[in-house]
Amino acid sequence: MRGRGSGRRAQGSLAEGAGAGLRKARVLAAVMEETGAGFRKELVSKLLHLHFKEDKTKVSGDALQLTAELLKIFVIEAAIRSVRQAQAEELGCVDLDQLEKVLPQLLLDF
């Protein structure tokens, strides 16, 4: 692996950067496809831009995908912790009471 890496470096850092980006993107894509639902990149972009203070602020494609992933984790954490709370209270339905109990710690953890 190391030998291949140094060989590629000889081609120029630009090519290596592109190759690295492609590999990273493939790994990321594989992880993203694991579960069905998720936040679309365009939605995440609009959500972020809604709150930027500067007009010139932009977001890279990779950063958008990662943010989408982070948001997904946030939602799933909220959902799963609420479920755990409901299970602890021996309830079959997750209601606002259960969410309210787990929300403070969730927000602190993020």
Binding site: G38, L50, K53, K56, T57, F74, V75, S82, D95
Partner: protein, 116 residues
């Protein structure tokens, strides 16, 4: 006349915001449904709406922080290093096993690993 125009603009901003909230609500609903069927429980509609509201507000925190991180690094384009900073508290996060793996990937995805 000016007041009418301002009123219309205000209305447009409000509708745009509402549309974004609705889009978030839809995705949150889908994710909760996946969790619900996996854990064999049900979420009340109000719970899904509440998670959706919190998520929408969390986006504001994320956006502000990301913009500040990039600006601190003297960039106007937010990159993966900034997102990684956003997830910094996740080190102490006692995540459920389902999300622990995903968080690990978020942290790793923003690093440069030659073997990838």
């Amino acid at each position: 006349m000016m007041e009418e125009k301002e009123g219309a603009e205000e209305q447009q901003r409000f509708s745009y915001r509402q549309r974004l909230k609705a889009a978030v609500h839809y995705t949150v609903g889908c994710l909760c449904e996946e969790v619900a069927s996996d854990k064999e429980v049900q979420f009340s509609k109000q719970t899904i709406a509440a998670i959706s509201e919190v998520t929408f507000r969390q986006c504001e925190n994320f956006a502000r922080d990301l913009e500040m991180f990039a600006r601190h690094a003297k960039r106007s384009t937010i990159n993966t290093e900034d997102v990684k900073l956003l997830a910094r508290r996740s080190n102490s996060l006692n995540t459920m096993s389902e999300t622990g793996h995903r968080l690990q990937c978020v942290r790793m995805a923003s690093l440069w690993h030659p073997q990838f």
